[in-house]
């Protein structure tokens, strides 16, 4: 909690970074709206008409703004700079401390992400939730973005034990998230086998899961099943991160020594 508070304060201290995280997402949203408006026109693609596609993209904006706000560069730099060696001497669990910082950083972006979403809803008037229950379940499913984003970022930063820079890994991770979350192109448009691959990975819960619940593409039982899958991934990624950490920490070399 203390780590989360510090990360939160640190994040809101740098208002420009904060602003830019919304700007990035806002730009992607506008570009997505322009592209899909052109493609869908008055018809529909993959069961999405223009109204529901707008809702889909706005949900994607909200989730990606949150997911990209975590302090993953701080985590990566701790390993790259060798600070991790000092962390090992501290009586604090590395993963738990980083989780605190990461989620604290994400919390700092919540007001901006929500404000951006409200503005987008007012300006673009997307389709509403299919039912009040679906709306509530959507919000609940969005909460799992926090542990899921951390779990994935943590695995990504662990790569820094064997590489010298984080940038390439971050791009690979971000592109996996963008593609398999359905942010780049809805999962429903993919061929059957690729949909299977996407649903077998955790990334799908960043956009497709909340959007499917919101738009009523799954019934209540389906929604609860998806939320259970989110919870399972959240725990699974934490355990996986712990197992990999145990192997990699033996490799720590600081400044080549």
């Amino acid at each position: 909690m203390a780590f989360a508070t510090i990360a939160f304060k640190r994040k809101i201290a740098y208002k420009t970074t904060w602003l830019f995280s919304v700007l990035f997402g806002g730009w992607a949203l506008l570009a997505g709206l322009a592209v899909w408006n052109h493609l869908i026109g008055d018809g529909e693609i993959g069961g999405y008409d223009w109204q529901s596609m707008k809702a889909y993209l706005v949900i994607g904006f909200l989730t990606t703004t949150l997911a990209w706000a975590g302090a993953e560069w701080d985590m990566a730099n701790r390993i790259l700079d060798g600070l991790v060696a000092i962390d090992l001497t501290k009586p604090v669990d590395f993963q738990r401390a980083r989780a605190g910082e990461y989620i604290g950083g994400m919390m700092a972006s919540v007001p901006a992400a929500v404000l951006g979403t409200v503005i987008a809803v007012l300006v673009f008037r997307p389709a509403g939730p299919v039912s009040p229950l679906a709306a509530a379940l959507t919000v609940f499913s969005l909460l799992f973005i926090f542990p899921l984003a951390f779990g994935i970022s943590y695995l990504a930063i662990l790569c820094c034990f064997v590489t010298q820079r984080f940038l390439g890994i971050q791009w690979a991770k971000d592109s996996m998230v963008a593609f398999f979350s359905g942010m780049m192109i809805p999962i429903a448009l993919m061929p059957g086998w690729l949909q299977g691959v996407a649903w077998a990975m955790p990334f799908v819960h960043f956009t497709t899961t909340p959007a499917s619940i919101y738009l009523g593409r799954v019934d209540t039982a389906g929604a609860l099943g998806l939320i259970a899958a989110e919870a399972a991934w959240a725990v699974g990624l934490l355990v996986l991160g712990r197992l990999i950490w145990r192997q990699l920490v033996k490799k720590v070399t600081v400044h080549g020594g």
């Binding site: 993959g46 390439g168 791009w171 963008a178």
Partner: protein, 273 residues
């Protein structure tokens, strides 16, 4: 003795190139020492491109064309953008470190050395994801080129377009990273913003975007000349006259990068101030 007889300006330019290549090859030597790093990063670059390919394949399984552009033409757009980004990372990745060097006072060392600071910073790193980006980007281009039926005659234009794209991309990134001389921060937010803009908009035909976006991409931050204009010309979507804009964009962006960097160095006040 031969050196003293050459015009004064030629010596520094040759010196600059020599410094650049020496540093660049030193980076290559250090990369070879860490093969795991190399493979992880190269695969990261490959993943990015394979997913771009998949995106277009899925998109065109559902729609026949985007604003009159076919699958293979769009592959060319994405491929050229990847190659441009890859060349930036391969030959000029150090520019991304400008912000970190300013904060840590690392620019101090560079100022004291007898070579232009911008050359030393630019060649200070190689982004190894570039290997995956360039290889798969070129593969996308070749596949798109053949599929779009462009033919051999236009290949010189394609090669020239790649070279110009690499220079414009690197120069614009450098200019935007140099903003960190004034706005202090590790991350080069403005350069990231440009990459984001390109990733979202420049993989698509510019025609689907509002006029303001088109004007910005063509004339304010000339990212359109990196991939959109050359591809639009070889595929017949734009008149060949637009090709003249590419060298202009090269000169403009290089001058901009050098100018902003020079002003930035004047404003630089070392670490801790």
């Amino acid at each position: 003795m031969a050196d003293t007889q050459t015009p004064a300006i030629a010596v520094p330019v040759r010196h600059v190139f020599a410094i650049y290549w020496r540093t660049w090859f030193a980076q290559i030597r250090s990369i070879v020492e860490y093969p795991a790093d190399l493979w992880v990063m190269a695969s990261a670059g490959a993943v990015w491109n394979i997913l771009q390919f998949a995106f277009l394949a899925v998109l065109f399984a559902n729609v026949p064309d985007v604003a009159g552009w076919g699958y293979h033409e769009m592959l060319l757009l994405s491929g050229l953008l990847s190659v441009a980004g890859g060349c930036n990372a391969l030959f000029w990745d150090g520019a991304w470190s400008t912000g970190a060097m300013v904060i840590k006072g690392d620019i101090d060392y560079r100022i004291t050395r007898p070579a232009p600071v911008i050359i030393q910073v630019g060649s200070s790193h190689i982004g190894m994801q570039s290997i995956g980006e360039v290889v798969f980007g070129v593969a996308m281009m070749v596949y798109g080129w053949i599929g779009a039926g462009i033919g051999f005659a236009a290949i010189p234009i394609g090669v020239l377009a790649i070279a110009c794209a690499a220079v414009i991309q690197s120069a614009l990134v450098t200019a935007l990273c140099a903003v960190n001389f004034w706005i202090k921060g590790q991350a080069s937010i403005f350069a990231f913003l440009m990459i984001e803009l390109q990733g979202n908009a420049m993989k698509m035909p510019l025609g689907i975007f509002p006029i303001a976006v088109r004007l910005v991409a063509m004339f304010i931050v000339p990212v359109a000349f990196i991939n959109f204009v050359p591809v639009a010309v070889v595929t017949g979507h734009m008149s060949a006259w637009w090709l003249a804009g590419i060298p202009a964009a090269v000169v403009g962006s290089v001058l901009l990068a050098a100018g902003v960097y020079r002003l930035g160095l004047r404003a630089y006040d070392s670490a801790g101030h």
